[in-house]
Symmetry: C2
Subunit: 264 residues, 2 copies
């Protein structure tokens, strides 16, 4: 489909400001505990009114990145308080030089909760959820473009999380999986690995369909091990591929663009 995204005026002012400041914090320009320039200073730097700056800061406070008190100023919160599991924070994080470490952590989290989620899904799934998973799995096989395949891949994993029936798993996984659109992109390369990956996915689908939790858990572990393996042995991407990849944003942070995967 590729809807030509209308840029409008380019997001709201305060969101742009939040993005600017937030990225800088994630990038480490302002260390935790450090004092931020005051509001007036930001007004000058970003060429916008104090209201806009304030709303941006309010937003960052809501995400646990900042904390301000009268007379003291606004300071960066310690890292533990950052709401890393937030669309925006995640996307700023991903734009950071730390990106590799980030992906490693994400992959580790997947190894922790996806097998269990699949097991739960095998137990709790209803037929509608099963259908969604199966369709996604089939779509992966029949996808003609890389983009479609990745979309179906994400949909597949989210379907499992949603079928697991734990309300934390869904939003949590949603973030992780969105972030991982990159990884799938990375991983989905040659036809050979592609076919292999497809059969791994189908095994998961089958286990859940047959309501076999232990098998589902094993199948997911296999898939993740395979993914790790592919990442491991991946030759460094060529400049061309890197540029191609750069075109799509990893996490669609803000509203106007409803993220691609809607399961209602």
């Amino acid at each position: 489909m590729a809807i030509a995204k209308k840029k409008r005026t380019g997001k709201s002012r305060h969101f742009a400001a939040a993005e600017e400041i937030g990225s800088r914090i994630l990038r480490g320009d302002f260390a935790p505990g450090e004092l931020l320039p005051n509001e007036a200073e930001w007004c000058k730097r970003l060429r916008m009114s104090r209201s806009a700056v304030r709303e941006a800061i309010k937003m960052l406070k809501a995400k646990g990145l900042l904390n301000s008190r009268p007379k003291i100023g606004t300071r960066v919160e310690p890292r533990e308080r950052w709401n890393l599991l937030d669309r925006d924070v995640l996307s700023w994080y991903m734009a950071t030089p730390e990106r590799a470490r980030f992906l490693k952590s994400v992959q580790e989290m997947r190894r922790i909760f996806e097998p269990e989620a699949a097991a739960l899904a095998a137990i709790h799934r209803d037929s509608a959820e099963m259908a969604a998973i199966s369709v996604a799995c089939r779509d992966m096989g029949t996808a003609t473009t890389l983009e479609n395949r990745i979309e179906a891949d994400v949909r597949f994993h989210l379907g499992i999380l949603s079928a697991a029936g734990n309300e934390f798993l869904v939003p949590f996984g949603f973030l992780i999986e969105s972030a991982l659109a990159n990884v799938f992109d990375y991983v989905t390369r040659s036809v050979g690995t592609l076919r292999h990956a497809q059969s791994l996915h189908e095994n998961i689908e089958k286990a859940i369909r047959h309501r076999r939790p232990a098998a589902a858990r094993r199948a997911v572990r296999l898939l993740l091990a395979d993914t790790d393996d592919v990442i491991e042995h991946l030759p460094p991407p060529t400049a061309f591929e890197r540029a191609k990849r750069r075109r799509k944003p990893a996490v669609s942070s803000q509203p106007s663009a409803v993220p691609p995967i809607v399961d209602r």
Copy 2:
């Protein structure tokens, strides 16, 4: 220590507003997709200026609860977009009649990631992290008040998560564990179960100290099973105990204004 927290003026206005509106959303007064009253209306209702209301709404947007567009108004986002893994949202959620379901979900999440976290901790821990865990474990045993014991209990579990060395585990667990202060409170009752629980904790400590991931994983599973068991067979709390419990805030989101935990 129990520092008498100075109430100040009672937190900032916009936070109070955010709390009011956010709680209502979590409670279901405003369903997802529904249109919120407009800003002017909130000004009247909450007796505050439009700026304060706007900053509150900005905050709720940052948490994924709302989304507003000019002329249309502000509407509640679908539940999947809510940032449930946020201190404030979590605390509003906990003040909801859904509280029981909430605790069940949380407990399930613990079963998913705490065993793995312990296994990772057994692998990656350094000696400082180990020391923190051991101290917490000892403090649990020697604590003289229920409050101290719970504090040490939370510290113990957080220590493990932090030793696991995954940056997502820490903030994530932080939220869950804070939320669970209630559960620990619930669970820590008779001397008998208390002594049993202590030995379960010590097994975990030992496994991590000896760098035995599989043993650590097993030990955590045992503890969680025990917790589930206690919850299961818990007689309904007496009114006195309930009142006593109500005294401490569950999630220390922003010091003063934690909503009273009503369980109807």
